[in-house]
């Protein structure tokens, strides 16, 4: 089984790259006949990814959330899966390459660095941890997708303002829809991050003796949470709109990525598990 897991681990980045290639080719050429094939290919990639995560969980006896590279594999899946659902629900097909490329980044790093860990700390076998990590991951997927749609909103806004009617103008849905997609994803991200933070604050001090409120990840996530909170409230109150909200969403995403990198790669925190 281990060789099958290894095989899938190597296969997944290739599948994502091929899916990205089909989506990008369709984006450039706008070929109608590729519209359904690309969706099918994304589905196949997600299927293999799901099989990989399940077999990994069964073989190692714990869900793949015990170190940052396992988490990256889940995050890559969560982002691509969220996009797949979004594409099915909205039938907006032009934005795929911009989101799938983020899944590629996470999956490639994961595939290169992931190790076979059978024994994990007892604390990582808790159910509360499962909920904490699951909600945090879906929350991060939400803010990632929100940031991508925010970025596309800014690109389209600029093209229309400057009379540059290029590929973005031709392939993207309209500004209102991009803003709405970015905002809805931000709300989902914010809600799930709220759950992750609440569970974290209740459970982490009990589980980790070295728990600290000065933990960089906790501070980073709190800043992200506050930023999104401000943006969402201002938007709902009708004070802010368009560019301001999406810029906030992009800034929130960048801070989230930076805090994750700082926490995990510089090993400054109890949040680093490897």
């Amino acid at each position: 089984m281990i060789s099958f897991i290894d095989f899938l681990n190597i296969l997944l980045p290739f599948l994502y790259v091929i899916t990205f290639g089909i989506y990008s080719y369709d984006f450039m050429k706008g070929r109608k006949e590729l519209a359904n094939y690309k969706r099918l290919f994304l589905f196949i990639t997600l299927l293999f990814h799901a099989i990989y995560l399940i077999t990994r969980t069964l073989y190692f006896g714990h869900p793949p959330i015990t170190n940052v590279f396992e988490i990256f594999a889940v995050l890559a899946f969560a982002i691509a899966f969220s996009y797949f659902v979004l594409e099915l629900v909205t039938d907006i097909r032009g934005t795929g390459p911009f989101i799938i490329i983020i899944s590629i980044l996470f999956q490639v790093i994961s595939s290169i660095e992931i190790e076979h860990i059978v024994a994990v700390k007892d604390v990582l076998k808790s159910n509360l941890l499962g909920i904490h990590v699951f909600s945090a991951l879906v929350g991060y997927s939400g803010i990632t997708i929100s940031a991508v749609y925010g970025f596309l909103y800014l690109m389209l806004y600029k093209e229309i303002k400057l009379n540059q009617f290029g590929l973005i103008f031709n392939r993207m849905p309209n500004l209102e829809i991009l803003e709405k997609l970015s905002f809805s994803s931000a709300i989902i991200g914010f809600a799930l991050l709220t759950i992750a933070i609440i569970i974290g604050i209740i459970w982490l001090p009990q589980a980790f003796p070295d728990f600290s409120y000065a933990d960089p990840k906790l501070i980073g996530t709190s800043i992200v949470w506050i930023l999104y909170g401000i943006g969402i409230t201002a938007k709902l109150l009708g004070k802010w709109r368009g560019k301001k909200v999406v810029i906030l969403s992009i800034v929130g995403f960048v801070i989230a990525i930076l805090s994750t990198m700082l926490t995990n790669f510089l090993s400054l925190s109890f949040h680093s598990f490897y």
Binding site: K161, P173, L175, E176, G242
Partner: protein, 428 residues
């Protein structure tokens, strides 16, 4: 095939002549009644603002496209029409021309999809006038397939290619649903009127008009069932509109950057689209520097039009490929109307049925009887087909493929479903 086509179109004749030749539906009907029997046994007359075309099966061998040209020249003798203004096509080229017309690649505005409906309407008129026979119906069916395939399989009709449609396309890249938006059209001249009608057609939620001459605005407002503001104080209402289209003939600016800034403040920064389609311009171009104000003039709309036109041009080879495929299909069918292939197909068809039935029932017979069964059933089939075969051979021997014999063969094939029923495939 002896289909004839004669056309006066934007490639061959100046606009004045095309205008002079334009035929209303009554004119077309009169022309059809005159041409029927005199020039064509069956046919089709297509008349749009850019083309007047005649298609038909000549009544006899001696009728040529010169006769059709002369027929038109006689009808419109007061205009200076000469043979150089005509394009003429025969047989495959005539069918190909109709296919090119219906697919929009021969149109002045490439990919114009109105032509599809216009050809369809022309055919309905021909049918009403009993001018369509077996062959023209099949030509029209094939043309319809070409038109539909061109629209669904290529992007020949995609994108806006007029300034007013480009304006709508642009607005739809900013707002998602026009039925929740409001628009103000300043100026109710021809351009303003077209813009207002476009917006109404696209389902704009609320539409209002204003014009220096209030009466004119009121008249159009009554036609379109919209509100109308006096020109003197329309600026007080600017903030109520998501879309403002200006198309006046005023020599100076009507809306300044300040006007728009004030309106945006009242709108709390909600996006506003300004379409200045007037020459000289009505709205200060500096307004484009205000956040969430999308200012566009004729030049920027023309960029979209040019892009879409060049995209459509690049689709022409794909449409030509479809045309060639459908031409082959059409002529495969037409050639099957020759007597010899039809005799063979008819015999094959009957033989298949006979063989299948014998095969199904052979177990009910003894070995000796099976041989007799073969002989008897073959004899029955031969007797049934004897007379039709003799009649069809007469056609083949005459060496002529007249419309009458083509019709007879076509009906025979249709009755027995020979074109849909492939005996060889069934055997597999």
């Amino acid at each position: 095939m002896n289909l004839l086509a004669v056309s006066i179109n934007h490639h061959t004749a100046p606009v004045e002549l095309r205008e002079a030749l334009y035929l209303g539906s009554e004119d077309v009907k009169n022309l059809v009644s005159e041409a029927k029997g005199k020039l064509f046994s069956e046919g089709l007359v297509i008349c749009t603002c850019n083309r007047t075309e005649f298609y038909g099966i000549p009544v006899d061998k001696n009728t040529s496209y010169f006769d059709v040209q002369n027929f038109v020249i006689d009808k419109k003798s007061s205009h200076k029409i000469s043979p150089e203004h005509f394009q003429s096509f025969m047989s495959r080229e005539a069918v190909k021309h109709l296919f090119k017309v219906i697919s929009g690649i021969d149109s002045l505005l490439i990919g114009d999809n109105q032509i599809f409906k216009q050809v369809k309407d022309s055919f309905i008129v021909a049918e009403e006038m009993s001018f369509t026979g077996f062959l023209m119906k099949r030509v029209f069916d094939s043309a319809t397939i070409v038109g539909k395939r061109a629209i669904t399989e290529t992007e020949i009709s995609e994108g806006a290619v007029t300034v007013s449609y480009a304006a709508v396309q642009l607005i739809e890249k900013i707002f998602s649903t026009l039925n929740k938006k409001s628009a103000l059209v300043i100026g109710t001249g021809e351009t303003g009127e077209i813009a207002a009608k476009h917006l109404r057609d696209r389902g704009i939620g609320r539409l209002a008009l204003t014009n220096r001459s209030f009466d004119k605005a009121e008249k159009l407002a009554a036609d379109l069932n919209t509100a109308v503001f006096p020109f003197a104080n329309f600026k007080e209402h600017l903030h109520k509109f998501d879309i403002i289209i200006s198309a006046t003939s005023a020599p100076d600016l009507i809306l300044t950057k300040d006007d728009i800034k004030k309106a945006m403040k009242k709108r709390n920064g909600a996006s506003m689209v300004l379409m200045d389609i007037a020459i000289p311009r009505d709205i200060d171009p500096e307004t484009k520097n205000i956040d969430y104000v999308f200012y566009h003039d004729i030049d920027s709309l023309n960029i979209i039009v040019e892009q879409n036109l060049s995209k459509r041009k690049s689709e022409i080879p794909k449409v030509e490929k479809i045309i060639e495929e459908e031409l082959d299909n059409f002529f495969n069918w037409y050639n099957s109307l020759q007597a010899a292939p039809t005799i063979k197909n008819l015999r094959d068809y009957f033989e298949t049925i006979r063989a299948e039935e014998v095969d199904k029932n052979k177990n009910k017979f003894s070995d000796d009887d099976r041989e007799k069964l073969e002989i008897v059933t073959k004899r029955i089939i031969n007797k049934i087909l004897h007379h039709p075969t003799i009649e069809l051979r007469k056609s083949a021997e005459s060496g002529e493929n007249t419309p009458e014999s083509a019709t007879r063969l076509g009906i025979l094939r249709e009755l027995f479903g020979i074109d849909n029923h492939k005996p060889d495939e069934e055997k597999k």
